[in-house]
Point group: C2
Chain length 192, copies 2
């Protein structure tokens, strides 16, 4: 149940093993669903002994949570300097990440109870998604604007995106993203 897996000896073999395991986990989740994934299956796919997985991660849920936590947000789009554009860009990016094969599965895994007493994963996942939007809001505030609160962005943009991806609702695309942002910005206005 130690999902750190990167503290003591991050380089060389350990790193290769972790990368192989992560890749295998992503592939298996994508092709058979998170329910049908087991640690021995991931180990076989990764060319690694299953005892390693039991020792380093302990459970499928912990492994998937670790994978989700390390999915690099490296592709963060740069700030354009315009709140509407920035929000649209980040929302579209969130939608893309979420729509990737297994994207929702990893979201579920990280959010699932039973890991770290039910709250660490939640907190981390929420922090990461929040971190995507906070810079855009901060930048707007520094320009003297009064952007909507982060909580409002979560309610009005992120939540609908997650909901619609989970339910595979059609029409959840960039145009819909722009509509969400427009409705938020052009509505009664960000009062908080």
């Amino acid at each position: 149940m130690n999902a750190d897996a990167s503290t003591k000896r991050p380089g060389g073999r350990s790193g290769r093993v972790r990368a192989a395991v992560h890749d295998a986990a992503v592939a298996l989740v994508a092709e058979r669903g998170a329910d049908r994934v087991t640690l021995p299956a991931v180990a076989r796919r990764a060319g690694v002994n299953s005892s390693t997985l039991y020792r380093r991660w302990g459970s499928v849920a912990a492994l998937l949570a670790d994978v989700a936590g390390h999915r690099d947000d490296a592709g963060a789009p740069p700030l354009a300097g315009d709140l509407r554009t920035d929000l649209e860009c980040r929302a579209a990016w969130t939608l893309t990440e979420l729509s990737r094969p297994g994207g929702i599965a990893f979201f579920r895994a990280e959010v699932a109870p039973g890991i770290d007493e039910r709250h660490a994963g939640l907190r981390e996942c929420l922090d990461r998604v929040s971190a995507r939007f906070r810079p855009a809001l901060d930048a707007a505030r520094e320009r003297g604007e009064t952007p909507p609160s982060l909580e409002r962005v979560l309610d009005r943009i992120v939540a609908p995106l997650y909901f619609r991806v989970v339910f595979s609702l059609p029409g959840t695309d960039d145009g819909y993203v722009r509509a969400l942002v427009a409705e938020l910005l052009d509505g009664p206005g960000g009062d908080g």
Copy 2:
């Protein structure tokens, strides 16, 4: 993988077994999480042979989906005749159902891929949650009002509720529900 389980012989023993199994599944999911639930465990709790569960449901996911599908929406609050009140009432009711022990777990199970080719469960779950709000909107329309569209209700009320319950965000209570409804109704107005 037949999640109907109620077509041929619904009365008597079969019905008792199904009820016992459903109760056991709910209890186990609530106390140890959906991940740690297995068919033999449910069978033991229900006082039923596990072969019955394998034959009738085939997998934990299918069983949980069946349970979710049969969670009676019998406690539907009556329509008050006022759109705001009706939406608040139904949103609060949705929040209550979702906050029940294992509520989110059953939502996840029903939404999980791998059952019925990935879409029947989704469709049914979405239909059920939609059915909660549609009567209120229809009633308002019959009174000559122009209520928001169902899609908008999903985006603005249901999605945030699910999102916040999943992430255990504090302050997700009746007051928050009223705020969501107020922001929807008192905003730029229901144009669709």
